[in-house]
């Protein structure tokens, strides 16, 4: 049997295979071409160009002029640059743990056989599908010193009105609060997906051994969810370091420089002061910041994560 079939395949293969393979190459390259053009022109070239332009003085009108490290030197002496740098780090340090942990608590609450689970999940991501500019304005109205709902609640409790967005001490926290609110649902969905993978038998076995809910949470849920939670922290950090829309819409960086986060200052450097070279060097700094932060998180938190699934 084998001997009668073998020659057939041997004869047909060399004839067809090279042509087929060649056709597959051509089709493969043509099918990625449109996507690749976009990627090449608006991703690859700009990344390389930004690094180069970071060493130049450039106002869009005249040709870029090579200035070496002058932009970086200038940035590191710029008080507002450091301010925006610190604001962004502070924003991230508060936002990420609070948001991710709150999301974990709600995800644990939702992780049961609930008939309305899909509805609840959908309701929790509503703020995420809303445009930041829109909900930023809504919160500006809620935070309004004179007529806002939040100060209405405070005054009816007999407390003083607070200038949430007009005080340079509070404005940043108000924006962080809104950011936590807006993306909470996103993190809930992500962590819920992780929780649903935890095998039910573990909980059943623990029940047999007489464990209560609190023990199950700390001994089963937390170790099992830790890779997801760690992952959520990393993604959250990378997103938060790039925050722009909310501070732009709610306070435009003010009052003073209270909410002038990194990306907002970069935008203003480039498009208000036309210091394109310096703006590009800020882009490089942001990228390095994200890389370093990610590395540090992996180094100091990553080793504590339980990967035995």
């Amino acid at each position: 049997m084998g001997t009668t079939i073998q020659p057939v395949t041997h004869v047909s293969m060399p004839k067809r295979a090279p042509k087929k393979r060649w056709r597959q190459w051509v089709t493969g390259y043509s099918m990625i071409l449109p996507n690749f053009i976009g990627f090449f022109i608006f991703m690859l070239i700009p990344i390389i160009a930004t690094i180069g332009l970071g060493f130049t003085e450039w106002d869009l009108v005249n040709d870029p002029r090579w200035v070496g490290l002058a932009n970086y030197k200038h940035l590191f002496k710029d008080r507002i640059f450091w301010l925006s740098f610190k604001k962004t780090i502070w924003f991230t340090l508060i936002n990420v743990p609070v948001q991710s942990f709150l999301a974990l608590l709600i995800a644990v609450l939702l992780n049961r056989k609930l008939k309305a689970l899909n509805l609840f999940r959908t309701l929790f991501i509503i703020p995420w599908v809303c445009m930041s500019v829109a909900v930023g304005l809504t919160w500006t109205w809620l935070f309004n010193t004179q007529f806002g709902y939040i100060n209405h609640v405070l005054t009816s409790l007999g407390l003083e009105r607070i200038g949430w967005l007009t005080s340079d001490k509070l404005a940043l926290y108000a924006v962080i609060f809104v950011n936590i609110w807006q993306y909470l649902g996103w993190h809930i969905i992500l962590l819920l997906a992780g929780l649903q993978i935890v095998p039910q038998e573990l909980y059943e076995a623990a029940t047999v051994d007489g464990a209560n809910n609190w023990m199950k949470f700390w001994k089963i849920t937390i170790p099992m969810i830790s890779p997801f939670f760690f992952f959520d922290l990393v993604v959250n950090m990378i997103m938060t370091l790039q925050i722009f829309d909310l501070p732009f819409a709610m306070t435009n960086g003010g009052p003073g420089n209270a909410t002038r986060v990194f990306n907002l200052y970069l935008y203003q450097k480039g498009f208000s002061f036309l210091l394109m070279g310096e703006a590009c060097s800020m882009g490089v700094v942001l990228f390095v910041l994200i890389m370093v932060a990610t590395f540090l998180v992996f180094k100091f938190l990553g080793s504590r994560v339980n990967y035995e699934m």
């Binding site: 022109i41 930004t50 599908v129 882009g283 990228f287």
Partner: protein, 275 residues
């Protein structure tokens, strides 16, 4: 026993509904303000307006120019979505099912750029659009995103890789060309993945602010995010009309969320887990 369990359930439901009410309260307040007469906006704090008026929506629609912003947003985000779906589907299929030299290298190049912040590509992209004479045009708003994203290609590649190899081979033996295999056999199978990418792309570009902000100046070209952000610097805002404008801006995405909720959930899970 039965009774205590159902009481626990009830408590759980009440707790979740309570959290959700608090969580979504800002949006209820926004809706409520948008339906109030001006004198009630500054005097009462009732969630249900004493007298419901649609006047604010008329003011937002015509005086605040929201009609124009809305049409622009629909135009820009739907064209970007269409281009993304086509380009990413084709590229995802090629990366996931075809063999060609340099395929894996290219794919890792794509993945490598996914961590690069948007601020890094902003200024050179702006300059390219400027040189193409597309600053302050619809083309300038659309072009950089029309060819799809690394994220979209990644999402569809992962989908195409899950399709059985037999399917591909069966279609090859039938004599179909590779492009035909994609168009006639594989693309129709990819509807769930395409829908997921579709809603994620639509939401992203419906809400996107930074690129439209730098690329458009004339009011006729502004999208909702840019048009609405102009109000942030106003003194003496008519809050009820502004909240009506905000309602109009978010309502289309809310509708899509309710009709396509499972694709949103899938999209979020993908952007998290496979990153």
């Amino acid at each position: 026993m039965e009774k205590t369990i159902s009481a626990k359930r009830l408590l759980l439901y009440l707790l979740i509904i309570g959290i959700l009410f608090l969580y979504l309260f800002p949006l209820f307040w926004q809706l409520s303000t948008s339906l109030k007469e001006s004198d009630e906006v500054f005097s009462g704090y009732n969630l249900i307006p004493k007298k419901v008026t649609w006047k604010n929506y008329r003011i937002a629609w015509s005086q605040f120019n929201v009609k124009r912003y809305l049409l622009n947003t629909i135009l820009v985000s739907s064209i970007i979505m269409l281009g993304t779906l086509i380009c990413c589907s084709m590229a995802g299929f090629a990366f996931g099912q075809l063999q060609f030299p340099g395929r894996d290298f290219l794919f890792f190049l794509y993945l490598g750029t996914m961590m690069v912040p948007g601020a890094v590509t902003l200024i050179p992209s702006y300059y390219i659009i400027l040189r193409l004479n597309m600053a302050n045009t619809f083309a300038g708003l659309i072009l950089p995103f029309f060819f799809g994203s690394a994220f979209g290609t990644f999402l569809l590649r992962q989908f195409y890789m899950t399709l059985p190899k037999d399917l591909f081979e069966a279609a090859t033996i039938d004599g179909a060309g590779y492009f035909q295999i994609w168009l006639k056999v594989m693309f129709p199978l990819s509807k769930p993945a395409v829908a997921t990418l579709g809603v994620m792309t639509l939401v992203q570009h419906w809400n996107s602010l930074l690129w439209p902000l730098v690329i458009t100046q004339s009011p006729a070209l502004k999208v909702l995010a840019v048009g609405l952000s102009d109000f942030r610097l106003f003194r003496n805002i008519q809050w009820n009309s502004l909240m009506a404008a905000v309602m109009i801006a978010i309502l289309p995405m809310l509708l899509i969320l309710f009709f396509a909720q499972k694709y949103f959930v899938k999209g979020i899970q993908f952007s998290g887990i496979n990153r």
